[in-house]
Symmetry: C2
């Protein structure tokens, strides 16, 4: 039995279905290549970082209380008891009134709790050092384990590896980590009217735009785009291409079927796959409503709208977070990680209740004030609204619009 | 003669020097690979897009005035004069009172100015079509040239190619464009104390963190990182590695020299290169002040601070925009393109006048209010401040800090 095409889910319901798909398997990855991937394991620090109390400066290791209140005109005088090398583990305890010359990165002797920079000292000869600046405990030094303590859980599985994290892993000597494999995303364009972009223009043909934008956005999310070209509106051909793509990928994106006939074809092709099911026939967002979710075995298949703008909005709002979920990222649909700019809405912007509206906006920067956001209108078959847009304003489904002058959040795209 | 180490430029002055370096050469690039690169040419539209007035829906092409006011209970009746195919260029003018069946993507006949969706019509037989919905000119149709007019300048050189742009180029049949070549960025770590991350920890050694974070951030900006490993503090060895890196790259990043001795070594190595000059000995930002800018021939050489946090801040604020500049991007230092979140500062945050302060902040999200931003303190030799940070708050050099409760802009990193 065919489902009703008006069986539309709210976005949250659609997302719940997507979250039921399992992430890709984990594998070892060198930290150089782990940037942007997602950890598949908790990571415990294998040692203290720094491994010992260390100096941040060239100078003298001191007891801070010995130089408290020292100034240019009222210096303190200490006896130098050692000249430490950077690769030396001092085997003595610094006595009160003593100091030890120490290079940047050198290990502080026991007892020393601060470092005075060499610029604020003067050698007076016979081992006496004049200290011209006061110090406080911990000054110009780093404490053992301050960055990471031995055994401390520094990352949890599901954490997306940032550049800073690559730095911390390197500092701890962790050369490789378990991350989720990059998902392969099969892209199939469907439609008799579609032609490759090199084709000369002919009446009734449209160049295949979507496979190009999908490719960019799949890569941006962290997936590996795999292109299956243009498939005409023939069920048998679509079925065979879809079966191949399902075998070779972690997620399949079909784009093209916006007309009722095409949507029907997409549904029938998915239903013809082994162990398949249609999970949703649409999602209550605009543009982007005619988005079909199915599965074949354990593999998700998304039938995306064919309209060029609709498919871009669905990619940004739903498919890219889903790819991050497949990559193992926790809370990948959490909007809080989106780059948001606060702006003032330039014009009243109506919206239909019952659907989440993704209004394209153009930012007009102003001196000394937040930018103005101009809503851009145009049909979802046109490219120009996304071309002109700096970002998106989301009007929730329970609202009828936003008013000129309101402060709005613009999601930078 | 050696320059004075306290010869520090303000950030804007430092940037002006960077902007004097020429971008990389341009080359042809397929649009699939042009995403994220920068156009090296203006692009004119080679045709009208759409090429003709087109239908966005399956339905009937009509004169909008013929169906004005039509409703379910008060329909309009039109005579169907044609059944258009999607690949057909109609060679007739639609007469008043007539309609033509048209598929999605079909070309409208002359005279037709709107499309009524098939869902709002009924075939009554004998060529009569009942129209149950009013229409307005332009409805469910796209006009010739609405996305791009033949000959229109759609992009200027210096524009960074977004996913939407790849879509528009594809739609216009433009398969390749001239973009600036990805710059190769040589990375040299310096310091006797540095060891590769696989090395077992020993007193006085530090694992080479910076070359790993630099690699990530160079890639993120769009450059190709090229690693030259760790060079000890020997002038001759540094000179030979630097000369090789200059020959092979568009920009060289030296990292490690924070101590006065190391900085001196970096300066001497740059000065030893052919046709070299030291352009700046520092920049008035914190952390990150000890950043050296030199050039050898036409190639820029940056001596970055060795402290792990300082080098990350300098990369984000200065080097990454500079890489974008080398890639040809216009206004690459323009802060307005940064993702910014508005937040409320949680605590008073003092700052020294005379330097731009990059305070790491952690965001605490709240329901129904902008997030709280907690400033994170810690030495720039520690990794933890950047690990904990969600973003940066920039305190300008003419201010002494920001107050708790102030609305601040957090640059998401």
């Amino acid at each position: 039995m065919r489902h009703d095409f008006f069986d539309i889910l709210i976005r949250e319901g659609f997302e719940s279905l997507l979250l039921s798909f399992a992430p890709t398997p984990i594998e070892m990855q060198s930290i150089s290549d782990a940037y942007g991937l997602v950890l598949g394991e908790d990571i415990l620090s294998p040692e203290n970082l720094p491994p010992a109390n260390r100096s941040c400066m060239d100078g003298y290791a001191v007891h801070a209380r010995d130089v408290f209140g020292a100034t240019e005109s009222n210096p303190a005088y200490l006896e130098q008891c050692a000249q430490l090398r950077v690769d030396e583990a001092p085997n003595f305890t610094l006595k009160k009134g003593d100091c030890a010359a120490i290079p940047t990165g050198g290990t502080l002797p026991d007892g020393a709790d601060a470092v005075v920079m060499v610029e604020h000292t003067q050698e007076l000869g016979a081992g006496t050092i004049e200290i011209r600046k006061s110090s406080t405990p911990g000054e110009h030094s780093m404490l053992k384990g301050e960055d990471a303590a031995n055994g401390e859980k520094i990352y949890e599985a599901g954490h997306s590896v940032r550049f800073q994290d690559v730095g911390l892993l390197a500092a701890l000597g962790i050369g490789s980590v378990k991350t989720h494999r990059k998902p392969r995303i099969g892209i199939i364009s469907t439609g008799d009217e579609l032609v490759e972009i090199e084709a000369p223009p002919r009446v009734g043909t449209i160049r295949d735009v979507n496979s190009h934008t999908l490719r960019c956005l799949v890569s941006k999310a962290g997936g590996i785009p795999v292109n299956y070209g243009i498939v005409p509106d023939k069920l048998q051909k679509l079925e065979s291409t879809l079966a191949k793509a399902i075998a070779e990928n972690d997620l399949i994106l079909l784009s093209g079927g916006s007309s009722v006939g095409m949507r029907d074809l997409t549904v029938r092709a998915i239903e013809a796959m082994a162990d398949s099911e249609i999970l949703a026939h649409g999602v209550a967002i605009s543009p982007g409503k005619p988005t079909i979710l199915g599965k074949a075995g354990s593999k998700p298949v998304l039938g995306l709208p064919g309209q060029v703008t609709s498919v871009q909005i669905v990619m940004l709002s739903i498919v890219m977070p889903f790819i991050r979920h497949l990559m193992g990222q926790r809370n990948s649909f959490d909007c809080r990680d989106r780059p948001i700019l606060l702006a003032e809405l330039e014009r009243n912007t109506p919206s239909k209740q019952g659907r989440e509206d993704y209004v394209r906006v153009k930012l007009k920067h102003r001196k000394g004030n937040i930018p103005l956001a101009e809503p851009i209108y145009g049909k979802s078959g046109l490219l120009k609204t996304m071309i002109q847009a700096d970002g998106l304003m989301i009007i929730p489904s329970d609202m009828e619009g936003s008013y000129a002058g309101e402060q709005i959040q613009v999601w930078l795209i």
